[in-house]
Symmetry: C2
Subunit: 215 residues, 2 copies
């Protein structure tokens, strides 16, 4: 018995940061911002609380990192399925809408996370920057999809029109996402994606239910 089990392991810095960020996200989602204390975060990440300060000089810094991480994750979840594959632009737009209104994006968990973080956006300039960036990124992607779908249908729109269509469609998606996540019991399965397709279709003037021409 000359050798005793090591009391801890040194992990690569990025692993630990990632674990702490994931723990933070998990706690904000499940117990709200108030539940995300340094001690609970450390417990969830399976480290002692002192280690947090080794990687993040303050708790706010960790919260911000988690916010940024989650927002990027969410945009990727929605945008990824429509990138790369070779389908019509209309089908791309439809896929984008549907993806944002199904799990895992449209879930109580994501709503909680978003509401928890948003609460801090008001009083923190850096949080506001992240929020702003995420918003424009999402809306710009949507605008590009709409633009291409309209050109494809031989109904091109002016920049001003496109801007307004993107704002409106973004609102429909956000609103349905919110309703579904905040009160899941109020909707039937698949109802939200269906309503999303019909509404975005009505706004931009395309029939998104029609699968259309797959190239």
């Amino acid at each position: 018995m000359s050798e005793s089990a090591p009391k801890f392991r040194r992990e690569p810095a990025e692993h630990r940061k990632e674990a702490l960020i994931q723990a933070t996200i998990s706690l904000v989602a499940e117990r709200g911002v108030a539940g995300a204390t340094v001690r609970e975060i450390a417990k969830q990440a399976e480290v002692t609380q002192g280690l947090i300060r080794h990687y993040f000089s303050t708790k706010e810094e960790l919260i911000m990192a988690a916010f940024e991480h989650h927002m990027r994750h969410m945009t990727n979840l929605t945008a990824a399925p429509v990138a790369g594959i070779h389908i019509s632009h209309k089908a791309r737009l439809a896929a984008f809408v549907v993806t944002g209104l199904k799990p895992p994006v449209a879930t109580p968990r994501f709503i909680s996370l978003w509401a928890g973080f948003l609460n801090k956006v008001r009083n923190d300039a850096q949080m506001r920057v992240i929020h702003e960036k995420t918003y424009y990124d999402f809306r710009d992607r949507l605008e590009a999809l709409i633009k291409n779908a309209l050109i494809e249908a031989n109904k091109p729109a002016t920049p001003t029109q496109l801007r307004r269509l993107a704002i409106a469609c973004n609102a429909v998606i956000d609103g349905l996402w919110l309703e579904g996540g905040a009160l899941p019991s109020a909707f039937k399965p698949n109802e939200l994606p269906e309503i999303g397709l019909a509404s975005v279709g009505a706004i931009v003037g395309l029939d998104l239910d029609d699968p259309g021409d797959l190239s």
Copy 2:
């Protein structure tokens, strides 16, 4: 100098409750849920902190009362302008949309409040009940407006269609409200109400920009 100035005044219970609720709302709006501590609430309401427990047996009870109060207030703000007055049903629907997308409803303050409270909805059954009630109340009013406007235009819809239209229009309004309140700088003056009218109009199949027939 036999008489000294009274050290405090006894107020009617409802006044004090109202003051405490208003103080809570104000703090949640401006400093987030974390800023709404019993001491700050008491200071804002100009009482000492012990008094809070005299009217609310726990802090959660006060928060809930504030949530309910604010939600009722918000629904009233949106619904009141369209009640009573004698205009066409289409104009009523249009007014409802516009009111929800202008100050004081569509403001950063209201978004902060809403996000702050929503954060507690996830883990508190009573908060969930209030949220649910408010949501259905708002959506039902909207559905009634849509129904009447469609009948008026000789385009009656089935209950299933109406339900979906109400969900979709509610989403547009909520989404635009959210976008505008969370990032006011991203929109031009009046842009949100205009987009709201155009989008809701496109979804239900009515031209809401047209003032229509005033009865």
